[in-house]
């Protein structure tokens, strides 16, 4: 994980509009190597929106998201190459086996397609030849999380990763995150559950939601 | 044929000339009416919402 020391993943005065609703305004963040940021806040306060902003799926209505000082919108492919995004849905195709699913996503990223190791980190090695249609929600989520280990990425963006996970799987995830941070990686997690992440900073989105409504923002 | 009927007769093609003008005016008028009602409906809805806002603020100030 060659990461120039001190490169920061930063957000400046971010304003996010979803549909016609102002989600948050004037939000700043900064994540360095080895950092972990917990996004907390009420439902609809914009946790998922912020993660999508960080990933580049969503363009900010105002402000900019920068990687090492350069806006991510300039070279989206380069930004995609250095991140893993885990959303609410688990993209496991019913017709493909878990190993095939994982190998596809790995080769699409920077991985080599050898996935047995990655499956072990989330102790779903036994599922490798099981087609997607037979998996439970928890197994699908573990297969999805296995993508994190299957290919290298500096920035992990996890949107409520612990949903549908049992205690054992959650501890696997925590161990994987700890190893990732030790290697200089960055993590941003949105969660409702209290996560045992030492040294993780909290970013409460409720403090950024109280802004005037855009339509009424008349002089 | 006195001038009035000849005016409507339109050299035998009255059945085509008049409907095309009438349909045009009807469609343009209907579109205008629709736009106007769309605007009025919005304004009344907005007014009601604002009145409700004012009402809730009064109640809030009474309780405080």
């Amino acid at each position: 994980m060659a990461l120039a020391p001190g490169t920061l993943f930063t957000g400046h005065d971010l304003t996010c509009i979803r549909g016609e609703r102002l989600v948050f305004a004037g939000l700043d963040f900064a994540i360095g190597a080895g950092d972990a940021v917990l996004l907390v806040g009420a439902n609809g306060s914009g946790k998922s929106s912020l993660l999508r902003l960080m990933a580049g799926l969503l363009r900010p209505a105002g402000g900019a998201v920068r990687w090492g000082g350069e806006s991510i919108a300039i070279d989206p492919e380069a930004h995609n190459a250095r991140l893993h995004y885990v959303g609410h849905l688990d993209p496991v195709k019913a017709a493909l086996t878990v190993a095939e699913n994982l190998a596809f996503w790995a080769r699409l990223g920077n991985g080599s397609g050898v996935v047995t190791e990655a499956l072990k980190t989330f102790d779903s090695a036994s599922l490798s030849d099981v087609p997607g249609r037979f998996l439970s929600a928890g197994q699908k989520r573990r297969a999805n999380l296995a993508r994190l280990a299957a290919s290298e990425a500096t920035l992990w963006l996890l949107d409520e990763p612990t949903t549908a996970l049992d205690a054992a799987a959650t501890s696997c995830l925590m161990k994987a995150i700890a190893r990732h941070r030790a290697g200089g990686g960055m993590v941003a997690i949105s969660t409702h559950v209290e996560l045992a992440l030492d040294g993780a900073r909290r970013l409460d989105l409720d403090t950024f939601a109280r802004q005037p409504d855009p339509v009424e923002a008349a002089p | 044929m006195d001038p009035i009927t000849s005016f409507f007769h339109m050299g035998g093609y009255g059945a085509y000339v008049w409907p095309s003008f009438v349909i045009t005016l009807v469609v343009l008028g209907a579109l205008f009416a629709n736009s106007l009602s769309f605007l009025r409906a919005g304004e009344t809805a907005l007014k009601e919402l604002q009145d409700e806002d004012v009402a809730t603020e009064d109640e809030a100030s009474d309780e405080a």
Binding site: H88, P91, V92, K93, R107, L108 | -
Partner: protein, 221 residues
Amino acid sequence: MRRAFEIMRRDLRLALRQGVDSLMAVVFFVLAVVLFPLGVGPEANILARIAAGVIWVAALLASMLSLERLFQTDYDDGSLELLALSPVALELVVLAKVVAHWLTTGVPLIVAAPVLAVLLDMDAQGFVVLIVALGLGTPTMSLIGSVGAALILGARRGGVLLSLLVLPLFIPVLIFGVAAVDAAIGGFAARPHLMILSGLLIGAVALCPWASAASLRQSLE
């Protein structure tokens, strides 16, 4: 480019694993053409006269019916988000998926077309040009259709809406496709029509992935 081929390979594997779905387009194509003699009457001279038009309209409708699935399944299970976040340009992702879609639905239509031409007593001179014209037309339809498929993601009643959006845009392909076959049958040169068809294809390859990618980005916001 390796990653684009990776996406295409996965789509082809998915299509072959669920083989039945991609055959639906061909079955519809054959059925639609078979209905015409039942409706218009079996007289050979009438059928021969309208054969090119019937085959082209049925091919157009068949390829359009299978377009809705192009992005919808990936959109529903979250794969589309990850594809948009992969280090390959979204335009290339669209191109890879369109080529996979064309291979699974377009090519079977081209294979089935001569058989149906025989059913409709089409003049033998027209067969080769029919295949070449469909070979140029079906990829254009898949490309233009991919724009429609991307636009209706997340819309209510997407299927019907897709046909309303996409059919007017198919009209140039239909006109020159049928004109090419009719010219061949009539003994005229079919080259100018085929040249225009390939022009439409090249234009579609240049513009449609860009438009589809733009509307995919909108739908993922």
